[in-house]
Structure formats: structure tokens, C-alpha cells
Point group: C2
Chain length 331, copies 2
């Protein structure tokens, strides 16, 4: 295992410490937890936004804590859901009296633990609402999921729900707009290589030297098909068409595009994919309102990409464009 | 070779096309070149800033084109200097009458070609000044360099010189502040793995499964030492101490820190390194004014990091904090 770490069992704690050390003016660590919260939280009169999940997907989710996006992120161990206790600490840390909204990626562990935390918080008198993100069109059920998985589209939920909360939206209004994003966002990924969980010490799976996997999950869960590597244009076409078959995006519609690197993919390759994706959308008469290219939701050092499309209306455009001071999503 | 590309000989052209497709409102391609320029360039009354170099270091340099940073970036083939003709096209595209400032990483090819372009531009009546960035403390001369190499510290030169230009600084004033950054910035890197130039089709070099290279360059040029992989704390200590031996940073000084990923390093590991670096600086009584963690100057899919320290005075602090709308450096 080639990694720049200290103790494989301490990587999340070390990372969280290093994160606080990088942005001491923006975030604070809730004592005795792996919860990172906005320095100024709880903010009176503002709904608190909490997300999180297993670590290994950085910059998700701590990188999205900041004005205009999340109020707190809960870091589980690598590829492991945080416990309900930890999520509860996050909820309590950001409740400014208007309730707390949870953004959950659809993995069985995350859903159970976040929902249990929500019940515990409600028992303490905190109002909680939630959205479950399930943007991955690749497979209906998988190793860790009933229903579709939540992947990079989650970041756009953070952005838009975060903007709504920052503008003074109520818990109900945030829920409505987050539901709208989830209804209109779709993603799909592929990988060339596996990744290695530090505590495991060896790759999660193996692909042959000429092989890729289409539809893979962000923990290396099996996808649709293993096959010989094709060209960037063919990969972009396969993923984009699969998404377009799943959601009605008509001629003249406005969308946001995210080309996401899974960890070890050179940025050069993301832009090569972007050219083809934009070409396909253009040929379909679809108007691209905003494009995001970079590492937004990774899988440690996996080489691969995901493509996300989000259909926009005027409300979503405005919220997508609103300011964000989160380190991993400045706008 | 596992890459998401089309034709290995077309990766730079395809990437540039994909970049324009991502940010059509911010950048334009100078026809028949690989030069990306700010949409609004040339800007009358503002000094134009140009940088560039071989491709494969993304987001450098195109990602730094935008208000508050560069006016144009010239993309060479992978790890290959752009030709003087291309650099000249960039200079001509951004000259708004107040002259053009070139930011050059210290590689023999880049220096020769940018200087030749400067002479050609001056023959056409455009005033040109330049700075050569040589922040890498690892080795004095190397495969492609006389003197020290220019690496991630270059991005801080872009930022600060860019802010000076945006605020109306003259060519002379920009030269002064860029020289000040170069005098006060130092970097050093290390790698766990090699990278593969697409047209070569195989790794540039090999490291054993338990081996790392200290002091390596961003094209895989040999460094100081190959040795067994040590812990993140030991790596952070070795690089930071080497930098601190090279530049006088005293108790109470303010600095900026950049923890840069070389391409395939999980962000988690960058934060683990950051914790130790900040600890060392704290123990030395050095005040960290700003920290940047992410991929700023990469080497395709190389796994590894570099650490950059920049000693700041009040002028540099103000310019570092000024707004930037470049996609890869939003502030």
C-alpha cells in the first residue's frame, strides 16, 4: 500500500485535525467527535444544514462546510457511515432554533444512522427534515444500497439547499427545493482502477490492465459491466446517453453539468470528457447553464470519472449561482 | 496505459477544447493556437499577464486565467515547452497598451521560448517584462533546468502579480512584487509513483512498491533520494525542514502554506500532511496567515505532494487576499 499516512487506523482523525488546521477561521471541531462545523454555527434564525458519510470521498463533505453551503459535516471512518451519536452532535451544534436539514446519500448505513439521529434530535425538541440523494442511474440496488446510490449529484444538493438556507428559507422551503434537485439530478460513473482502504491495506477489487468498469459506485461497488477500455468519447457518450434515457431533458432546457474526478484522474482527462459531453448536449439542443469540472466526490485514489446532469429552472439557477465560501466550492 | 483519452497525440488539443466548453463566458481560444485568454482581454489600461508551459500540470496554467490572475495561458504539449510563436500570440492577445508580464517556470525550454517571444513582441512595439520562478529547493540543477526548478510556488506568483495587475499596477510595479514573491517562496516535493505521458504510453520511471522519491520534479526528474516510504509525519518534517533551512523565516513572521497534490494523491493525505506541517510551523513560532490545500500544480497521475511556504509582508497579504475569478483559484 503506497500512502502518505501515519497510522492506518487514525487517518480520519488525522485528516480532520489537518482540516481544522487549514481553515481555523472557518471551521471548528465539535469536541470528542469527527464533526466539523462552521465557526459561527449555530446561527440564530437560520436552518442548519448537515451532511456527511463515510470518509474517503474528500472534498465531500467537510470541504462543503461554509457560508452558503453546509453548517456541519460528519466524517465516518473510511467508507463507513458515521454513528447516530456523531450525527446527533452535528445536529445539536448547528440548530439555531429554526430546525436542521439533513442531506443523506442513499446508502443503507447512512440512511439508518442519520434517521436514528433525527429521531434522537426530535426527542430533544429539535425539528429535523431530510432528503435522501439517489442520483446514480447505474444500478437499482447494490452492495450497500436499497435503491439507487447517492454520488456526486449530492454536492449540487448541498449547494442549492445551502443557498436556500442562507437566504432565510424555512425548513419546509429547504425540503421543497432539495426534493426538486433530487428529482432533477442524475449521475453515472466509471473507473479504470480500484482504490485501497487504508485499514484494509490492499485494493478493494482489481481490474485488468486493459479493463474498465462502467457504472461503478464510489466505494468500488460493482457496476453494470467490465469491458475493455474504450475512448474518452465513447465513455462520455455511454454515460451521458444512459443519463439522458433516465430523465426527460428536452430541447431548450437549461442544465448544469458536473464532470467529477474520482481521485487519481488527471484533470486533463476530465476536460477531454467534458468536450464530448458538451457536444452531445449541444446536438440535443440542451443549453448548458453552468459546468463544474474537478474532484467533488472522490473514492480515495480511484482513477475514473462520473458525469452529473441537473435540470434547472429559474429558482435552481439563482440558488446555484448564489455565493459560497466553502473551501471546496467557492462561487 | 490506463487513460480516459481519445488519441494520445491529441490530448492537449482535446483538453483545451473541453476547457473552452466548460467556461465559454470566461475564456476564449486564440484561433489556431493552444492559447487560452480571458474573454475580455486585451483590457485597455491594464498590464496583461501571461504564463504557461508544458501541459500535464493542470489546473496549471489555464485554470488560473481569470479576473485577478492571468490574462492568458499557453499550453505546450505534455511536459514540453510551448513554442515562441504560441507565446507571442498570447502576448499579442492580452496587450492592452500597458505592456505584458510573463511568469515563467525555470525550465530551460520555457525560459528560452518565452524570452524569444518577448524579443519578438518588443520588435512589434509591445513592452514586456518577466519573472522566472525557481522555488524548488530540492536540487540546484536537473534534467531540464539550469538552477532551481519552478513548481507549485508559481501559482502564488500568478495570484499576487495578478492582483497587482488588476489593481492597476504598472509593468514595473508588477515586476517588483513578482520578484518579491520569488525571493520569498520555497517548495519541495516527493512522490510515491510515476506518471505516464500519453504519447509515451508507459511510466516515465519506476519506484518499487515500498519506495518513494524525495525532491522529485513535476516531470519526474530525479530528486535527492530514493528510500523506503516513511510516515506522513516524517515526510512532512523532512520537506518542511529542508525549506526552512533554505529561507530565513523568523519567529513571528507571517507565511502562506500550500500543500499541493501531484495528481493521484487522495485529498485525505494532503490534510494529514497539513496537520504536521502546521505543527512544525507553530512550534517555530511562525504564524500561518493562509493555507491552501489541493491540486494546484500536478504531474498527470503522479501520487505525491509538494509543500510550499511563502513569507508574507503586508503588501503580499493584501494581494494574496484580493479577489480571483479564475476557475482553479476562487477567492
Amino acid at each position: 500500500m503506497k500512502k502518505i499516512i501515519n497510522d492506518p487506523d487514525q487517518v480520519v482523525q488525522d485528516m480532520v485535525n489537518g482540516y481544522i488546521a487549514a481553515y481555523p477561521e472557518k471551521v471548528r471541531l465539535i469536541p470528542n467527535t469527527l464533526v466539523l462545523a462552521r465557526k459561527e454555527a449555530p446561527i440564530k434564525g437560520k436552518v442548519g444544514l448537515v451532511s456527511g458519510g463515510g470518509s474517503g470521498h474528500e472534498p465531500a463533505h467537510a470541504g462543503y462546510v461554509g457560508k452558503g453551503m453546509l453548517d456541519a459535516a460528519v466524517a465516518g471512518e473510511v467508507f463507513t457511515s458515521p454513528t447516530p451519536d456523531q450525527v446527533l452532535e452535528a445536529i445539536k451544534a448547528v440548530d439555531g432554533g429554526e430546525g436542521v436539514f439533513l442531506i443523506i446519500k442513499n446508502y443503507t448505513g447512512d440512511v439508518l444512522n442519520f434517521e436514528m439521529a433525527a429521531e434522537m434530535a426530535e426527542a430533544e425538541g429539535i425539528q429535523v427534515e431530510k432528503v435522501i440523494v439517489n442520483d446514480d442511474v447505474a444500478v437499482e440496488d447494490s452492495s450497500f444500497t436499497t435503491g439507487r446510490r447517492g454520488i456526486a449529484g449530492t454536492v449540487l444538493v448541498h449547494k442549492i439547499a445551502g443557498a436556500k438556507a442562507e437566504s432565510g428559507g424555512s425548513l419546509k422551503e429547504i425540503k421543497q427545493v432539495a426534493d426538486k434537485v433530487v428529482a432533477n439530478v442524475r449521475s453515472m460513473g466509471m473507473a479504470l482502477t480500484s482504490c485501497t482502504v487504508p485499514a484494509a491495506g490492499k485494493p478493494s477489487f482489481t481490474l485488468k490492465e486493459d479493463e474498465m468498469e462502467i457504472g461503478i459506485g464510489i466505494h468500488g461497488e460493482p457496476g453494470i459491466e467490465r469491458k475493455p477500455i474504450t475512448s474518452a468519447d465513447e465513455i462520455a457518450t455511454e454515460l451521458t446517453n444512459r443519463i439522458l434515457e433516465d430523465i426527460e431533458i428536452s430541447k431548450g432546457n437549461n442544465i448544469a453539468v458536473m464532470i467529477n474526478g474520482l481521485g487519481a484522474t488527471p484533470e486533463m482527462e476530465l476536460y477531454i470528457v467534458n468536450e464530448k459531453v458538451q457536444g452531445i448536449l449541444h446536438d440535443n439542443g440542451i443549453h448548458v447553464y453552468r459546468t463544474f469540472v474537478g474532484e467533488y466526490m472522490t473514492s480515495l485514489e480511484m482513477a475514473g470519472i462520473s458525469i452529473t446532469l441537473l435540470k434547472l429552472d429559474d429558482e435552481l439557477k439563482t440558488l446555484l449561482d448564489a455565493g459560497s465560501e466553502a473551501p471546496a466550492f467557492r462561487s
